[in-house]
Symmetry: C2
Subunit: 323 residues, 2 copies
Protein backbone atom coordinates (compact mmCIF):
# COMPACT_ATOMS: atom_id res chain seq x y z
CA UNK A 1 0.00 0.00 0.00
CA UNK A 2 2.77 2.42 -0.90
CA UNK A 3 1.23 3.18 -4.22
CA UNK A 4 -0.18 6.67 -3.79
CA UNK A 5 -2.68 6.13 -6.63
CA UNK A 6 -4.01 3.16 -4.71
CA UNK A 7 -4.23 5.20 -1.50
CA UNK A 8 -5.96 8.00 -3.38
CA UNK A 9 -8.54 5.53 -4.69
CA UNK A 10 -9.00 4.08 -1.22
CA UNK A 11 -9.56 7.50 0.32
CA UNK A 12 -11.96 8.35 -2.50
CA UNK A 13 -14.05 5.24 -1.75
CA UNK A 14 -13.87 6.00 1.96
CA UNK A 15 -15.21 9.51 1.44
CA UNK A 16 -18.04 7.97 -0.59
CA UNK A 17 -18.86 5.99 2.57
CA UNK A 18 -17.80 2.60 1.28
CA UNK A 19 -17.58 0.20 4.23
CA UNK A 20 -14.91 -1.95 2.61
CA UNK A 21 -12.70 1.12 2.25
CA UNK A 22 -13.44 1.92 5.91
CA UNK A 23 -12.35 -1.58 6.99
CA UNK A 24 -9.23 -1.40 4.82
CA UNK A 25 -8.22 1.99 6.21
CA UNK A 26 -8.67 0.86 9.81
CA UNK A 27 -6.49 -2.16 9.17
CA UNK A 28 -3.82 0.09 7.65
CA UNK A 29 -4.07 2.52 10.56
CA UNK A 30 -3.80 -0.30 13.10
CA UNK A 31 -0.76 -1.91 11.55
CA UNK A 32 1.30 0.98 10.25
CA UNK A 33 1.71 4.19 12.30
CA UNK A 34 3.20 6.06 9.33
CA UNK A 35 0.30 5.11 7.09
CA UNK A 36 -1.99 6.08 9.94
CA UNK A 37 -0.59 9.60 10.06
CA UNK A 38 -0.63 10.02 6.29
CA UNK A 39 -4.17 8.77 5.85
CA UNK A 40 -5.74 10.35 8.91
CA UNK A 41 -4.28 13.74 8.03
CA UNK A 42 -6.12 13.48 4.70
CA UNK A 43 -9.50 12.29 5.98
CA UNK A 44 -9.53 14.05 9.33
CA UNK A 45 -12.41 16.45 9.61
CA UNK A 46 -12.54 19.58 11.67
CA UNK A 47 -16.19 19.10 12.36
CA UNK A 48 -16.03 16.21 14.83
CA UNK A 49 -19.69 15.49 14.34
CA UNK A 50 -19.78 12.01 15.85
CA UNK A 51 -21.14 11.82 19.37
CA UNK A 52 -18.85 9.53 21.36
CA UNK A 53 -20.22 7.21 24.04
CA UNK A 54 -18.05 5.14 26.40
CA UNK A 55 -19.59 2.01 27.87
CA UNK A 56 -18.06 -0.13 30.58
CA UNK A 57 -18.98 -2.71 33.20
CA UNK A 58 -17.91 -6.05 34.58
CA UNK A 59 -17.68 -9.09 32.33
CA UNK A 60 -21.04 -10.82 32.46
CA UNK A 61 -23.06 -7.65 33.07
CA UNK A 62 -24.35 -7.85 29.51
CA UNK A 63 -22.45 -5.03 27.83
CA UNK A 64 -22.51 -6.60 24.37
CA UNK A 65 -26.22 -7.41 24.54
CA UNK A 66 -26.91 -3.89 25.75
CA UNK A 67 -24.89 -2.34 22.92
CA UNK A 68 -26.79 -4.59 20.50
CA UNK A 69 -30.21 -3.49 21.74
CA UNK A 70 -29.17 0.16 22.05
CA UNK A 71 -27.74 0.12 18.52
CA UNK A 72 -30.88 -1.49 17.14
CA UNK A 73 -32.92 1.30 18.67
CA UNK A 74 -30.58 4.10 17.57
CA UNK A 75 -30.54 2.90 13.96
CA UNK A 76 -34.34 2.54 14.02
CA UNK A 77 -34.33 6.32 14.57
CA UNK A 78 -32.35 6.78 11.36
CA UNK A 79 -28.90 7.28 12.86
CA UNK A 80 -25.66 5.44 12.06
CA UNK A 81 -23.46 3.82 14.71
CA UNK A 82 -19.77 2.86 14.79
CA UNK A 83 -18.79 0.45 17.56
CA UNK A 84 -15.28 -0.06 18.91
CA UNK A 85 -15.04 -3.04 21.20
CA UNK A 86 -11.84 -3.53 23.17
CA UNK A 87 -11.14 -7.23 23.18
CA UNK A 88 -11.31 -8.50 26.75
CA UNK A 89 -8.39 -10.81 26.18
CA UNK A 90 -5.82 -10.32 28.87
CA UNK A 91 -2.26 -9.32 28.03
CA UNK A 92 -1.28 -12.82 29.12
CA UNK A 93 -3.23 -15.34 27.10
CA UNK A 94 -5.20 -13.73 24.35
CA UNK A 95 -8.88 -14.52 24.38
CA UNK A 96 -11.83 -15.35 22.25
CA UNK A 97 -14.21 -12.67 21.18
CA UNK A 98 -16.70 -14.91 19.48
CA UNK A 99 -19.28 -14.74 22.27
CA UNK A 100 -19.57 -10.98 21.94
CA UNK A 101 -19.76 -11.24 18.17
CA UNK A 102 -22.71 -13.56 18.59
CA UNK A 103 -24.42 -11.17 20.98
CA UNK A 104 -24.00 -8.36 18.47
CA UNK A 105 -25.00 -10.60 15.55
CA UNK A 106 -28.20 -8.77 14.93
CA UNK A 107 -26.26 -5.67 13.95
CA UNK A 108 -23.34 -7.16 12.05
CA UNK A 109 -25.38 -7.12 8.84
CA UNK A 110 -27.06 -3.80 9.63
CA UNK A 111 -25.93 -1.35 6.96
CA UNK A 112 -26.07 1.55 9.42
CA UNK A 113 -23.63 -0.14 11.80
CA UNK A 114 -19.95 -0.95 11.70
CA UNK A 115 -18.32 -3.01 14.49
CA UNK A 116 -14.58 -3.14 15.05
CA UNK A 117 -12.89 -5.08 17.82
CA UNK A 118 -9.44 -4.06 18.98
CA UNK A 119 -7.13 -6.40 20.86
CA UNK A 120 -5.69 -5.29 24.16
CA UNK A 121 -2.03 -4.58 23.54
CA UNK A 122 1.00 -4.78 25.71
CA UNK A 123 1.19 -1.11 26.52
CA UNK A 124 -1.57 1.10 27.80
CA UNK A 125 -0.43 3.92 25.55
CA UNK A 126 -0.52 1.71 22.46
CA UNK A 127 -4.11 0.69 23.04
CA UNK A 128 -5.25 4.24 23.71
CA UNK A 129 -3.59 5.48 20.51
CA UNK A 130 -5.22 2.72 18.44
CA UNK A 131 -8.59 3.72 19.89
CA UNK A 132 -7.96 7.41 19.16
CA UNK A 133 -7.03 6.59 15.56
CA UNK A 134 -10.07 4.41 14.93
CA UNK A 135 -12.30 7.03 16.53
CA UNK A 136 -10.81 9.65 14.17
CA UNK A 137 -11.50 7.38 11.19
CA UNK A 138 -15.07 6.66 12.35
CA UNK A 139 -15.61 10.37 12.87
CA UNK A 140 -14.34 11.17 9.38
CA UNK A 141 -16.58 8.43 7.97
CA UNK A 142 -19.49 10.33 9.45
CA UNK A 143 -21.09 8.03 12.02
CA UNK A 144 -23.70 9.84 14.08
CA UNK A 145 -22.73 7.89 17.20
CA UNK A 146 -19.56 6.08 18.18
CA UNK A 147 -19.77 3.58 21.05
CA UNK A 148 -16.51 2.51 22.70
CA UNK A 149 -16.89 -0.60 24.85
CA UNK A 150 -14.24 -1.69 27.34
CA UNK A 151 -14.13 -4.17 30.19
CA UNK A 152 -14.05 -2.93 33.72
CA UNK A 153 -11.84 -0.34 35.23
CA UNK A 154 -8.17 0.40 35.20
CA UNK A 155 -5.91 3.04 33.82
CA UNK A 156 -6.38 2.06 30.18
CA UNK A 157 -10.14 2.60 30.48
CA UNK A 158 -9.55 5.96 32.11
CA UNK A 159 -7.28 6.92 29.19
CA UNK A 160 -9.77 5.71 26.58
CA UNK A 161 -12.68 7.45 28.27
CA UNK A 162 -10.95 10.81 27.95
CA UNK A 163 -12.46 10.63 24.46
CA UNK A 164 -16.07 9.99 25.42
CA UNK A 165 -18.74 12.63 25.92
CA UNK A 166 -21.17 10.32 27.74
CA UNK A 167 -19.91 7.43 29.89
CA UNK A 168 -22.26 4.56 30.73
CA UNK A 169 -21.60 2.08 33.53
CA UNK A 170 -23.45 -1.25 33.15
CA UNK A 171 -24.20 -3.23 36.30
CA UNK A 172 -26.34 -6.26 37.06
CA UNK A 173 -28.32 -7.27 40.16
CA UNK A 174 -26.70 -9.55 42.68
CA UNK A 175 -24.58 -9.61 45.76
CA UNK A 176 -21.20 -8.00 45.48
CA UNK A 177 -23.07 -5.01 44.07
CA UNK A 178 -20.90 -2.43 45.69
CA UNK A 179 -17.87 -4.29 44.42
CA UNK A 180 -18.95 -3.87 40.81
CA UNK A 181 -19.05 -0.13 40.96
CA UNK A 182 -16.23 0.73 43.33
CA UNK A 183 -13.60 -0.43 40.88
CA UNK A 184 -11.02 2.27 40.43
CA UNK A 185 -13.41 5.15 40.42
CA UNK A 186 -15.56 4.27 37.41
CA UNK A 187 -18.70 5.32 39.29
CA UNK A 188 -17.24 8.78 39.63
CA UNK A 189 -16.78 9.21 35.90
CA UNK A 190 -20.09 7.60 34.87
CA UNK A 191 -22.77 9.90 33.46
CA UNK A 192 -25.47 7.22 33.23
CA UNK A 193 -25.82 4.03 35.26
CA UNK A 194 -27.57 1.01 33.80
CA UNK A 195 -28.99 -1.87 35.84
CA UNK A 196 -29.15 -4.57 33.20
CA UNK A 197 -30.95 -7.92 33.65
CA UNK A 198 -33.39 -5.99 35.81
CA UNK A 199 -35.90 -8.85 35.52
CA UNK A 200 -33.59 -10.56 38.03
CA UNK A 201 -34.03 -7.80 40.61
CA UNK A 202 -32.07 -4.64 41.12
CA UNK A 203 -33.99 -2.72 43.80
CA UNK A 204 -31.21 -3.26 46.33
CA UNK A 205 -28.55 -2.39 43.75
CA UNK A 206 -30.42 0.82 42.92
CA UNK A 207 -30.48 1.87 46.59
CA UNK A 208 -26.81 0.96 46.81
CA UNK A 209 -25.90 2.97 43.70
CA UNK A 210 -27.89 5.97 44.86
CA UNK A 211 -26.14 5.91 48.22
CA UNK A 212 -22.75 5.77 46.56
CA UNK A 213 -23.67 8.56 44.15
CA UNK A 214 -24.60 10.81 47.06
CA UNK A 215 -21.02 10.75 48.27
CA UNK A 216 -19.82 12.39 45.05
CA UNK A 217 -20.29 15.93 44.00
CA UNK A 218 -22.46 16.08 40.88
CA UNK A 219 -20.40 16.88 37.81
CA UNK A 220 -21.35 20.35 36.59
CA UNK A 221 -24.92 20.00 37.75
CA UNK A 222 -25.57 16.59 36.21
CA UNK A 223 -26.90 13.88 38.53
CA UNK A 224 -26.26 10.48 36.89
CA UNK A 225 -29.64 8.83 36.26
CA UNK A 226 -30.16 5.10 36.74
CA UNK A 227 -31.79 3.27 33.81
CA UNK A 228 -33.12 -0.28 34.12
CA UNK A 229 -32.81 -2.55 31.09
CA UNK A 230 -33.29 -6.14 29.97
CA UNK A 231 -30.92 -6.00 27.04
CA UNK A 232 -31.68 -9.45 25.64
CA UNK A 233 -35.33 -8.38 25.17
CA UNK A 234 -34.62 -4.83 24.10
CA UNK A 235 -36.34 -3.48 27.23
CA UNK A 236 -35.07 -0.05 28.27
CA UNK A 237 -33.12 0.69 25.08
CA UNK A 238 -35.39 3.61 24.15
CA UNK A 239 -35.15 5.08 27.64
CA UNK A 240 -31.37 4.67 27.63
CA UNK A 241 -31.09 6.48 24.30
CA UNK A 242 -33.34 9.30 25.56
CA UNK A 243 -31.11 9.59 28.62
CA UNK A 244 -28.01 9.80 26.43
CA UNK A 245 -29.66 12.58 24.41
CA UNK A 246 -30.59 14.37 27.65
CA UNK A 247 -26.96 14.25 28.77
CA UNK A 248 -25.80 15.43 25.34
CA UNK A 249 -28.21 18.32 25.61
CA UNK A 250 -26.99 19.13 29.12
CA UNK A 251 -23.41 19.28 27.84
CA UNK A 252 -24.33 21.47 24.87
CA UNK A 253 -26.48 23.91 26.82
CA UNK A 254 -23.72 24.42 29.38
CA UNK A 255 -20.87 24.71 26.89
CA UNK A 256 -19.34 21.50 28.26
CA UNK A 257 -19.30 19.55 25.02
CA UNK A 258 -16.75 21.91 23.49
CA UNK A 259 -14.68 21.58 26.66
CA UNK A 260 -14.82 17.78 26.45
CA UNK A 261 -13.80 17.87 22.79
CA UNK A 262 -10.80 20.05 23.57
CA UNK A 263 -9.83 17.75 26.41
CA UNK A 264 -10.11 14.70 24.13
CA UNK A 265 -7.92 16.33 21.48
CA UNK A 266 -5.35 17.40 24.07
CA UNK A 267 -5.07 13.85 25.43
CA UNK A 268 -4.70 12.50 21.91
CA UNK A 269 -2.03 15.07 20.97
CA UNK A 270 -0.02 14.38 24.12
CA UNK A 271 -0.13 10.59 23.67
CA UNK A 272 0.88 10.86 20.03
CA UNK A 273 3.79 13.21 20.69
CA UNK A 274 5.16 10.98 23.45
CA UNK A 275 4.74 7.86 21.37
CA UNK A 276 6.48 9.34 18.29
CA UNK A 277 9.35 10.78 20.38
CA UNK A 278 9.95 7.52 22.24
CA UNK A 279 9.87 5.48 19.05
CA UNK A 280 12.38 7.81 17.39
CA UNK A 281 14.70 7.79 20.40
CA UNK A 282 14.48 4.00 20.67
CA UNK A 283 15.70 3.66 17.07
CA UNK A 284 18.25 6.44 17.23
CA UNK A 285 19.90 5.26 20.43
CA UNK A 286 19.44 1.53 19.93
CA UNK A 287 17.40 1.20 23.11
CA UNK A 288 16.75 -2.56 22.87
CA UNK A 289 20.45 -3.42 22.48
CA UNK A 290 21.47 -1.00 25.22
CA UNK A 291 18.78 -2.42 27.50
CA UNK A 292 20.52 -5.78 27.13
CA UNK A 293 23.86 -4.23 28.15
CA UNK A 294 22.28 -2.51 31.15
CA UNK A 295 20.63 -5.77 32.21
CA UNK A 296 24.00 -7.51 31.94
CA UNK A 297 25.66 -4.91 34.19
CA UNK A 298 22.87 -4.98 36.77
CA UNK A 299 22.37 -8.73 36.87
CA UNK A 300 26.10 -9.46 37.07
CA UNK A 301 26.23 -7.12 40.08
CA UNK A 302 28.80 -4.80 38.53
CA UNK A 303 26.48 -1.76 38.72
CA UNK A 304 23.28 -0.77 40.50
CA UNK A 305 20.28 -0.09 38.30
CA UNK A 306 20.46 3.72 38.49
CA UNK A 307 24.19 3.88 37.83
CA UNK A 308 23.79 1.53 34.88
CA UNK A 309 20.91 3.55 33.42
CA UNK A 310 22.67 6.87 33.81
CA UNK A 311 25.89 5.44 32.41
CA UNK A 312 23.94 4.86 29.21
CA UNK A 313 21.61 7.87 29.33
CA UNK A 314 23.94 10.66 30.49
CA UNK A 315 25.83 10.99 27.16
CA UNK A 316 22.48 11.06 25.34
CA UNK A 317 21.11 13.69 27.71
CA UNK A 318 24.27 15.76 27.21
CA UNK A 319 23.92 15.55 23.42
CA UNK A 320 20.25 16.49 23.66
CA UNK A 321 21.23 19.43 25.78
CA UNK A 322 23.44 20.77 22.97
CA UNK A 323 20.83 20.38 20.27
CA UNK B 1 18.15 18.29 51.43
CA UNK B 2 20.93 19.40 49.10
CA UNK B 3 23.50 19.27 51.84
CA UNK B 4 25.55 16.20 51.04
CA UNK B 5 26.70 15.88 54.66
CA UNK B 6 23.06 15.68 55.64
CA UNK B 7 22.38 13.06 52.95
CA UNK B 8 25.43 11.10 54.07
CA UNK B 9 24.15 11.09 57.64
CA UNK B 10 20.69 10.06 56.46
CA UNK B 11 22.08 7.16 54.43
CA UNK B 12 24.24 6.15 57.39
CA UNK B 13 21.17 5.98 59.65
CA UNK B 14 19.27 4.11 56.95
CA UNK B 15 21.98 1.49 56.66
CA UNK B 16 21.79 1.11 60.45
CA UNK B 17 18.12 0.21 59.92
CA UNK B 18 16.67 3.36 61.43
CA UNK B 19 12.96 3.55 60.49
CA UNK B 20 12.87 7.34 60.61
CA UNK B 21 15.67 7.46 58.05
CA UNK B 22 13.70 4.94 55.98
CA UNK B 23 10.60 7.14 56.09
CA UNK B 24 12.64 10.24 55.24
CA UNK B 25 14.31 8.58 52.28
CA UNK B 26 11.03 7.33 50.86
CA UNK B 27 9.58 10.81 51.09
CA UNK B 28 12.62 12.20 49.26
CA UNK B 29 12.40 9.48 46.63
CA UNK B 30 8.69 10.11 46.10
CA UNK B 31 9.01 13.86 45.71
CA UNK B 32 12.29 14.36 43.88
CA UNK B 33 13.30 12.07 41.00
CA UNK B 34 16.88 13.41 41.01
CA UNK B 35 17.26 12.76 44.73
CA UNK B 36 15.72 9.35 44.12
CA UNK B 37 18.41 8.45 41.60
CA UNK B 38 21.25 9.80 43.76
CA UNK B 39 20.10 8.06 46.93
CA UNK B 40 18.99 4.77 45.42
CA UNK B 41 22.25 4.38 43.53
CA UNK B 42 24.02 4.60 46.91
CA UNK B 43 21.82 2.21 48.88
CA UNK B 44 20.86 -0.19 46.11
CA UNK B 45 21.98 -3.72 46.82
CA UNK B 46 22.84 -6.37 44.33
CA UNK B 47 21.49 -9.09 46.54
CA UNK B 48 17.75 -8.43 46.16
CA UNK B 49 17.03 -10.50 49.21
CA UNK B 50 13.47 -9.32 49.83
CA UNK B 51 10.79 -11.71 48.66
CA UNK B 52 8.14 -9.65 46.89
CA UNK B 53 4.45 -10.55 47.16
CA UNK B 54 1.69 -8.86 45.16
CA UNK B 55 -1.81 -8.91 46.61
CA UNK B 56 -4.95 -7.79 44.84
CA UNK B 57 -8.72 -8.20 44.96
CA UNK B 58 -11.91 -6.21 44.83
CA UNK B 59 -12.58 -3.45 47.36
CA UNK B 60 -14.43 -5.03 50.25
CA UNK B 61 -12.83 -8.46 49.87
CA UNK B 62 -10.79 -7.79 53.00
CA UNK B 63 -7.32 -7.19 51.55
CA UNK B 64 -6.17 -4.93 54.37
CA UNK B 65 -7.42 -7.28 57.08
CA UNK B 66 -5.76 -10.19 55.32
CA UNK B 67 -2.44 -8.36 55.04
CA UNK B 68 -2.74 -7.52 58.73
CA UNK B 69 -3.27 -11.12 59.78
CA UNK B 70 -0.66 -12.45 57.35
CA UNK B 71 1.88 -9.88 58.57
CA UNK B 72 1.17 -10.72 62.20
CA UNK B 73 1.88 -14.37 61.43
CA UNK B 74 5.01 -13.69 59.36
CA UNK B 75 6.55 -11.49 62.06
CA UNK B 76 5.71 -14.10 64.70
CA UNK B 77 8.07 -16.35 62.74
CA UNK B 78 10.86 -13.80 63.18
CA UNK B 79 10.71 -12.18 59.75
CA UNK B 80 10.39 -8.50 58.87
CA UNK B 81 7.75 -7.14 56.47
CA UNK B 82 7.54 -3.97 54.37
CA UNK B 83 4.08 -3.13 53.04
CA UNK B 84 3.31 -0.86 50.09
CA UNK B 85 -0.35 -0.06 49.79
CA UNK B 86 -1.55 1.70 46.65
CA UNK B 87 -4.16 4.19 47.77
CA UNK B 88 -7.50 3.26 46.25
CA UNK B 89 -8.34 6.87 45.61
CA UNK B 90 -9.39 7.34 42.05
CA UNK B 91 -7.54 9.71 39.74
CA UNK B 92 -10.62 11.91 39.91
CA UNK B 93 -11.42 12.73 43.53
CA UNK B 94 -8.72 11.52 45.82
CA UNK B 95 -9.90 9.30 48.62
CA UNK B 96 -9.52 8.51 52.27
CA UNK B 97 -7.24 5.75 53.34
CA UNK B 98 -8.08 5.86 57.00
CA UNK B 99 -10.20 2.71 56.97
CA UNK B 100 -7.31 0.60 55.75
CA UNK B 101 -4.98 2.18 58.26
CA UNK B 102 -7.40 1.12 60.97
CA UNK B 103 -7.52 -2.41 59.66
CA UNK B 104 -3.73 -2.58 59.70
CA UNK B 105 -3.55 -0.86 63.12
CA UNK B 106 -2.25 -3.94 64.86
CA UNK B 107 0.93 -3.77 62.84
CA UNK B 108 1.54 -0.04 62.69
CA UNK B 109 3.41 -0.18 65.99
CA UNK B 110 5.06 -3.54 65.22
CA UNK B 111 8.80 -2.88 65.05
CA UNK B 112 9.25 -5.59 62.42
CA UNK B 113 6.80 -3.91 60.04
CA UNK B 114 6.80 -0.73 57.99
CA UNK B 115 3.68 0.36 56.08
CA UNK B 116 3.75 2.93 53.30
CA UNK B 117 0.74 4.02 51.31
CA UNK B 118 1.20 5.51 47.86
CA UNK B 119 -1.41 7.67 46.16
CA UNK B 120 -2.59 6.74 42.70
CA UNK B 121 -1.12 9.28 40.34
CA UNK B 122 -2.25 10.68 37.06
CA UNK B 123 -0.10 8.49 34.89
CA UNK B 124 0.26 4.76 35.02
CA UNK B 125 3.98 5.01 34.44
CA UNK B 126 4.42 7.47 37.31
CA UNK B 127 2.74 5.16 39.78
CA UNK B 128 4.71 2.12 38.64
CA UNK B 129 8.01 4.03 38.96
CA UNK B 130 7.13 5.20 42.49
CA UNK B 131 6.39 1.58 43.43
CA UNK B 132 9.67 0.37 41.88
CA UNK B 133 11.61 3.01 43.81
CA UNK B 134 9.99 2.24 47.15
CA UNK B 135 10.51 -1.48 46.54
CA UNK B 136 14.21 -0.80 45.88
CA UNK B 137 14.45 1.18 49.13
CA UNK B 138 12.62 -1.53 51.11
CA UNK B 139 14.91 -4.14 49.57
CA UNK B 140 18.01 -2.17 50.53
CA UNK B 141 16.62 -1.73 54.04
CA UNK B 142 16.59 -5.50 54.27
CA UNK B 143 12.96 -6.53 54.73
CA UNK B 144 12.52 -10.28 54.43
CA UNK B 145 9.15 -9.84 52.73
CA UNK B 146 7.64 -6.96 50.77
CA UNK B 147 3.88 -6.99 50.23
CA UNK B 148 2.48 -4.75 47.50
CA UNK B 149 -1.29 -4.26 47.77
CA UNK B 150 -3.36 -2.80 44.95
CA UNK B 151 -7.06 -2.58 44.20
CA UNK B 152 -8.52 -4.65 41.46
CA UNK B 153 -7.30 -5.11 37.98
CA UNK B 154 -6.20 -2.85 35.19
CA UNK B 155 -3.01 -2.02 33.40
CA UNK B 156 -1.35 -0.28 36.35
CA UNK B 157 -1.72 -3.42 38.46
CA UNK B 158 -0.29 -5.50 35.65
CA UNK B 159 2.71 -3.13 35.51
CA UNK B 160 3.20 -3.19 39.27
CA UNK B 161 2.91 -6.95 39.44
CA UNK B 162 5.82 -7.35 37.05
CA UNK B 163 7.80 -6.88 40.28
CA UNK B 164 6.16 -9.60 42.36
CA UNK B 165 7.36 -13.18 42.71
CA UNK B 166 4.10 -14.48 44.19
CA UNK B 167 0.75 -12.92 43.29
CA UNK B 168 -2.25 -13.45 45.57
CA UNK B 169 -5.83 -12.81 44.47
CA UNK B 170 -8.27 -12.21 47.35
CA UNK B 171 -11.95 -13.03 46.77
CA UNK B 172 -14.98 -13.28 49.03
CA UNK B 173 -18.07 -15.51 48.90
CA UNK B 174 -21.18 -14.15 47.26
CA UNK B 175 -22.96 -13.85 43.99
CA UNK B 176 -21.08 -12.13 41.23
CA UNK B 177 -18.25 -14.51 42.05
CA UNK B 178 -17.17 -15.02 38.52
CA UNK B 179 -17.20 -11.26 38.04
CA UNK B 180 -14.64 -10.76 40.80
CA UNK B 181 -12.04 -12.92 39.18
CA UNK B 182 -12.56 -12.32 35.49
CA UNK B 183 -11.34 -8.75 35.71
CA UNK B 184 -8.70 -8.13 33.09
CA UNK B 185 -6.98 -11.44 33.48
CA UNK B 186 -5.93 -11.22 37.13
CA UNK B 187 -6.92 -14.86 37.65
CA UNK B 188 -4.41 -15.81 34.99
CA UNK B 189 -1.52 -14.15 36.77
CA UNK B 190 -2.50 -15.26 40.30
CA UNK B 191 -0.27 -17.86 41.96
CA UNK B 192 -2.46 -18.27 45.04
CA UNK B 193 -6.20 -17.68 45.40
CA UNK B 194 -7.68 -16.72 48.76
CA UNK B 195 -11.34 -17.05 49.68
CA UNK B 196 -11.57 -14.61 52.55
CA UNK B 197 -14.59 -14.32 54.90
CA UNK B 198 -14.97 -18.06 54.39
CA UNK B 199 -17.23 -18.22 57.45
CA UNK B 200 -19.82 -16.69 55.12
CA UNK B 201 -19.60 -19.59 52.67
CA UNK B 202 -17.34 -20.08 49.72
CA UNK B 203 -18.03 -23.64 48.53
CA UNK B 204 -19.70 -22.38 45.38
CA UNK B 205 -16.95 -19.82 44.78
CA UNK B 206 -14.34 -22.56 45.17
CA UNK B 207 -16.03 -24.73 42.54
CA UNK B 208 -16.29 -21.66 40.34
CA UNK B 209 -12.62 -20.74 40.76
CA UNK B 210 -11.50 -24.30 40.11
CA UNK B 211 -13.54 -24.42 36.93
CA UNK B 212 -12.03 -21.18 35.72
CA UNK B 213 -8.53 -22.32 36.61
CA UNK B 214 -8.98 -25.43 34.51
CA UNK B 215 -9.31 -23.34 31.40
CA UNK B 216 -5.78 -21.96 31.86
CA UNK B 217 -2.57 -23.78 31.32
CA UNK B 218 -0.68 -24.12 34.61
CA UNK B 219 2.25 -21.72 34.75
CA UNK B 220 5.46 -23.77 34.65
CA UNK B 221 3.90 -26.66 36.49
CA UNK B 222 2.36 -24.64 39.32
CA UNK B 223 -1.37 -25.14 39.94
CA UNK B 224 -2.66 -22.15 41.95
CA UNK B 225 -3.94 -23.47 45.31
CA UNK B 226 -7.04 -22.04 46.95
CA UNK B 227 -6.65 -21.00 50.60
CA UNK B 228 -9.66 -20.20 52.82
CA UNK B 229 -9.22 -17.47 55.42
CA UNK B 230 -11.17 -15.43 57.96
CA UNK B 231 -8.74 -12.54 58.11
CA UNK B 232 -10.44 -10.64 60.94
CA UNK B 233 -9.89 -13.68 63.20
CA UNK B 234 -6.47 -14.62 61.88
CA UNK B 235 -7.83 -17.92 60.52
CA UNK B 236 -5.84 -19.28 57.59
CA UNK B 237 -2.87 -16.89 57.91
CA UNK B 238 -0.45 -19.72 58.76
CA UNK B 239 -1.70 -21.81 55.84
CA UNK B 240 -1.44 -18.84 53.49
CA UNK B 241 2.15 -18.19 54.56
CA UNK B 242 3.04 -21.87 54.10
CA UNK B 243 1.52 -21.71 50.62
CA UNK B 244 3.59 -18.62 49.80
CA UNK B 245 6.73 -20.46 50.93
CA UNK B 246 5.73 -23.47 48.83
CA UNK B 247 5.42 -21.25 45.77
CA UNK B 248 8.74 -19.57 46.58
CA UNK B 249 10.32 -23.01 46.80
CA UNK B 250 8.73 -24.03 43.49
CA UNK B 251 10.23 -20.95 41.82
CA UNK B 252 13.68 -21.55 43.32
CA UNK B 253 13.83 -25.25 42.52
CA UNK B 254 12.88 -24.59 38.89
CA UNK B 255 15.19 -21.60 38.40
CA UNK B 256 12.17 -19.35 37.91
CA UNK B 257 12.91 -16.90 40.70
CA UNK B 258 16.03 -15.66 38.92
CA UNK B 259 13.98 -15.31 35.74
CA UNK B 260 11.33 -13.27 37.58
CA UNK B 261 14.00 -11.03 39.11
CA UNK B 262 15.51 -10.34 35.71
CA UNK B 263 12.08 -9.59 34.30
CA UNK B 264 11.34 -7.19 37.16
CA UNK B 265 14.62 -5.35 36.65
CA UNK B 266 14.05 -5.15 32.89
CA UNK B 267 10.60 -3.61 33.38
CA UNK B 268 12.03 -1.12 35.86
CA UNK B 269 14.92 -0.15 33.56
CA UNK B 270 12.62 0.36 30.58
CA UNK B 271 10.14 2.49 32.54
CA UNK B 272 12.92 4.63 33.99
CA UNK B 273 14.63 5.22 30.65
CA UNK B 274 11.36 6.24 28.97
CA UNK B 275 10.42 8.49 31.86
CA UNK B 276 13.81 10.26 31.96
CA UNK B 277 13.90 10.72 28.17
CA UNK B 278 10.37 12.11 27.98
CA UNK B 279 10.98 14.50 30.86
CA UNK B 280 14.17 15.78 29.22
CA UNK B 281 12.51 16.22 25.84
CA UNK B 282 9.53 17.97 27.42
CA UNK B 283 11.85 20.58 28.97
CA UNK B 284 14.18 20.88 26.00
CA UNK B 285 11.43 21.37 23.43
CA UNK B 286 8.96 23.24 25.64
CA UNK B 287 6.30 20.59 25.17
CA UNK B 288 3.61 22.22 27.34
CA UNK B 289 3.80 25.54 25.46
CA UNK B 290 3.90 23.83 22.09
CA UNK B 291 0.94 21.68 23.08
CA UNK B 292 -1.01 24.91 23.56
CA UNK B 293 -0.06 26.06 20.04
CA UNK B 294 -1.03 22.72 18.53
CA UNK B 295 -4.38 22.83 20.36
CA UNK B 296 -4.96 26.32 18.99
CA UNK B 297 -4.32 25.18 15.42
CA UNK B 298 -6.50 22.08 15.72
CA UNK B 299 -9.38 23.69 17.58
CA UNK B 300 -9.50 26.69 15.26
CA UNK B 301 -9.76 24.25 12.36
CA UNK B 302 -6.66 25.55 10.60
CA UNK B 303 -4.90 22.14 10.76
CA UNK B 304 -5.84 18.53 11.41
CA UNK B 305 -4.32 16.92 14.47
CA UNK B 306 -1.65 14.93 12.62
CA UNK B 307 -0.53 17.85 10.46
CA UNK B 308 -0.33 20.07 13.54
CA UNK B 309 1.67 17.53 15.51
CA UNK B 310 4.11 16.84 12.68
CA UNK B 311 4.49 20.55 12.01
CA UNK B 312 5.90 20.82 15.50
CA UNK B 313 7.67 17.44 15.71
CA UNK B 314 9.29 17.15 12.28
CA UNK B 315 12.04 19.76 12.92
CA UNK B 316 12.79 18.03 16.23
CA UNK B 317 12.92 14.63 14.58
CA UNK B 318 15.26 16.03 11.92
CA UNK B 319 17.59 17.48 14.55
CA UNK B 320 17.55 14.19 16.46
CA UNK B 321 18.43 12.45 13.24
CA UNK B 322 21.61 14.54 12.91
CA UNK B 323 22.74 13.99 16.49
Amino acid sequence: MNDSAEINALIQHFLERDKYALARIITLVENDPDAARAIISRIYTHSHKSYIIGLTGSPGAGKSSLINSLTTFITSQGYTVGIISVDPSSPYTGGAFLGDRVRMRENILNSKVYIRSVASRGSTGGLAIAIYDITSVFDAFGFDFIIIETVGAGQSEVDIFQLAYTIILVTEPGLGDSVQVQKAGILEIADILVINKSDLGGDFLKVNLNMMLESYKPKSGWHPPIVRTIATEGVGAAELFQTILAHKNHLEVNGLLEEKRRHAIRTQVQNLIESILLKTMAQKFALPENMDKIMEEVCSGSKDVYTAILGFLQPILDRLDHL
